[in-house]
Point group: C2
Chain length 236, copies 2
């Protein structure tokens, strides 16, 4: 039993924080008024308080209260008691390090597998994969492990980016990076473009939004799968 929204990005170009997801979030959190926010990824280095205020402002639009997990003296107890969680984006290495530091990876995983409504955006989605090894982020801290929640049976590449036409930059494209991952790993990778999210409920993992996702498996050519695809049936 799962009840998750796993989104590529929190914010679309020209949009405001979480706005394009509000309908999906009203449904996800329909049985809770208060959401426990995990701000550990600290995008651009903003503080836990600032980040929580930003999430709070967005959730006011659907009448939900947001409380930061950093405000609890016992965050594991807060996790145990909550009826809804949201992990925001930022730096995945920092997020994963903090989750391990607070011994939260396994309890969070078990809570989600037991049905706790969960929203992840960007880094918060990346950790829903088996490992964080298809993150786009810089390794600004050294986490004790790259293993993550394993809520879905594959890895996620959020903010998936197609090659930029006419670019004269010689750095690797996203696809090249994911192919390099597959020289060392067998785990499938789902590249989620901005505007896409996965809706995981019970035994389904459905691609939502208007765009296709790009799917990479070891020793296969990448393929595009459209909205409505059930990713729970793939890779088995």
């Amino acid at each position: 039993m799962k009840n998750c929204v796993i989104a590529s990005t929190s914010t679309l170009f020209g949009g405001s924080y979480l706005d394009y997801l509000l309908n999906a979030l009203s449904e996800l959190y329909k049985d809770t008024d208060e959401i426990l926010f995990i701000p550990y990824a600290r995008p651009s280095g903003i503080s836990h308080d600032e980040y929580t205020a930003k999430a709070s402002e967005a959730f006011q639009q659907i009448d939900k209260q947001v409380v930061g997990i950093h405000t609890f003296s016992d965050p594991l107890d807060a996790l145990k008691k909550t009826t809804g969680v949201f992990t925001g984006g930022g730096n995945t290495f920092l997020l994963v390090s903090q989750l391990y530091k607070h011994a939260m990876m396994q309890p969070l995983r078990m809570a989600i597998l037991n049905g706790l409504p969960y929203l992840g955006t960007s880094a918060g989605s990346n950790i829903c994969g088996l490992t964080m090894q298809t993150t786009n982020d810089m390794p600004i801290v050294y986490p004790p492990s790259f293993k993550t929640l394993g809520i879905v049976p594959f890895n996620i590449n959020p903010h998936y980016l197609d090659p930029i036409s006419n670019s004269e930059h010689m750095g690797e494209t996203r696809e090249t990076r994911i192919n390099e991952f597959h020289t060392q790993n067998t785990v499938p990778v789902v590249g989620l473009r901005e505007g896409s999210w996965l809706r995981a409920t019970n035994h389904e993992i459905i691609l939502k939004g208007d765009l296709s996702a790009r799917v990479f498996e070891q020793n296969k050519s990448a393929i595009e799968l459209g909205p409505g695809t059930n990713f729970a049936r793939l890779f088995v």
Copy 2:
């Protein structure tokens, strides 16, 4: 005593492998005919042999032989005997993992500090910094440490990329990523644009090429420093 060329990229847009560096490399390797190549970073997953052949072809233009370190049963002995080293680009996590696996990080560091001519491109330059934590690469393997050679007293961001104007992508810019690094670390970062390299000799680390480098220090605004700048005098 150092004698290094630390280059942002191996290849410029529209150019061929190492061509823009050949004059600098003739000087770097003037006292050696054979270069020991470290192919561990495996760009796009190519094999050690394929990668060595590519390096070999480029160095034929300046009459140098190239031999891959992977062809030796005792790579540390090969390192001890060589009179010139080149570490190619690819995936920095893989490169660093392999250097630790072969117990090569410290011997390579000592050899370079004792004057062994060294060329690094991309990942091979990234490891000249104090840590690999400003790499652009995906964490496709888990290295035992992020600490690297520390040949220069700062970190390097190769393939430094300015924000793309009119981009509607919401992923972080390179500058944002480096600023996130500085929320957790005090080490200065030099962003080397493609076409730039650092020439480290004795007590100088001079910026070469036509472009400026972008320099990031914790709690300071980023600045641009032009060709000819001596980076050995900064950050002290």
